[in-house]
Each structure stands twice: as structure tokens, then as C-alpha cells.
Symmetry: C2
Subunit: 122 residues, 2 copies
Amino acid sequence: MGVETSFGIGELARRTKRSVHTIRWYEAQGLIPRVERDAGRRRQYTVWHVEWLNFLDRLKTTAMSVRDMKRYAALIARGETGEQEALLRAHRESVAARMREMNEALALIDRKLKHYGRFRRT
Amino acid sequence: MGVETSFGIGELARRTKRSVHTIRWYEAQGLIPRVERDAGRRRQYTVWHVEWLNFLDRLKTTAMSVRDMKRYAALIARGETGEQEALLRAHRESVAARMREMNEALALIDRKLKHYGRFRRT
DNA sequence: CTACCGGCTAGAGCACACTCAAGGTCAAGC
DNA sequence: GCTTGACCTTGAGTGTGCTCTAGCCGGTAG
């Protein structure tokens, strides 16, 4: 027992619902900053990494590319908060724009569906 | 002069802002129904195809896969309006769900941005 | 006649985001 | 001391959606 402050890659995989393969791949791509190793060269993670990967999920949900996640991760690693904010703000705007487009497309789809409905019996 | 009722692939490419390559690839994937050929085996298109490709753009904007576009195109080719409607309605729901997720993610990003803002000087 | 344009097919190549296989290390438990 | 399990690295393979190359044909203008 005791206060578990760090854990291995298997545990991180369970906590973030990713495969161990994927986590190593993410790290190789530069998406995971602040990864320490123990004496046996095994990766050690903390709750910070769980939260970071959860946040990456949100960025992914909003269609951020791995390339941009890598840029953001690099800024986190260097602590450059100004640039972090700029990147995130730019992403926010592109997401908002994409959502406006999707809304328009959805409206068109709804008009089509209404049209189908017009000739339905029920 | 005269009423131009059909045109070639180059013109379709210009009208739909795609490359000729891409249009041929779309057709090979089964995404473009009702394509006739002239005596020289050249593809002939009409305004119907322009509208169809514009609609495919909307489906793409809403992240429909080529696989599903192909299914929809096949239903168009066979005139099965009932199944067309079912497919489109299912897509509509998945888009709505994705947009809800994106909205949540956007809200989280906005909270992060607010946090950055908290420590800014201006 | 010949250059050019637009079109044709088959198939190779590419960017992205994983996903997994092969072969090995290392510590703990029996 | 041997097995088990978690971990390691390198690198190959996969699915999606294009994008382009090579080599060819056929009609028109100079």
C-alpha cells in the first residue's frame, strides 16, 4: 500500500483506454512530454499523463492532427505558455469554423430528409 | 451555341473543383452513378452530376466515409428511396452525435483558454 | 503532316494514424 | 533455476483517401 505516485505503461493504457502499442507510438511521435524512466529503462507515468492523454482525446475529437498535437506537446515541454495559448486559440477558431460548415451540411441533409418524407405514406 | 446538355470530365472537374484524377477515382470507387460514355468511350456528364458531387462534398464535410458514400450511391443507382432515406437518417444522427462531442470538447478547450487568459497581463 | 488537347486505363506512390510482430531484457515468485 | 509477466526496441503491415505517372488514342487547328 502507500501513495502510488507513478505507474507503468500497462496501467496508463488501462486508465486512458489505449493500447500499450499506441502509447509508445504517441511518445515516438513526440505527443507525450515529461516521460521519465526507471532503473530498468521502463517508462514511468503519473496522473498528469492520464490527464494529458485525456486532453489529447479532446483535441482528437476536434480533428487536431498528430502534427499539431506534437507542436502543442513541444510547447508544453518547454513551458511556453504564450505560444501554447496561441496554438490552442487558432485551433479553437478552426474547430468553430468546421462546426459552422457541418451545421450547414446538416441543414442540407435535413432538407433532403424532409423531401424523402414528403412522399412517404406513414 | 445551343443548349449544352452534357460535357466532359474536364468541365465537370472545373465545375466541382476537383481534379480529373479524383473524379475518375470517385467513379472507380462506385461513388458516381449514371455515367454514360460517348462513341469514343469518353465520360459524359450533366448538371445532375455537378449537383451530386456537390452533395457528396456535404457528406464529406460531415465525415461520411467513402464506403458509406458508395452505399448511398448504389441506392441512388437502383432508385431504392426507402433505403436511401434510412442511410441518410442514420448518418444524420451520427453527425449530430459527433457535433455534441465536438461541442463538449470545444467547451473544455475554452475553459483551458480562459485559464491561460487568467494569467495574461493585457 | 504534325502538334496539341482532352480523354482513356492500369497501376504506383503518398500522407496519415495507427497496429502489430519479432525478438529480447529484467524482476518476482515458485 | 525456471517460468511468468510486464516491459523494451525496431521495423513491417494496414486502411483510408486521394494523387500522380506512364503510355496510349482520337479529333482539330495551323
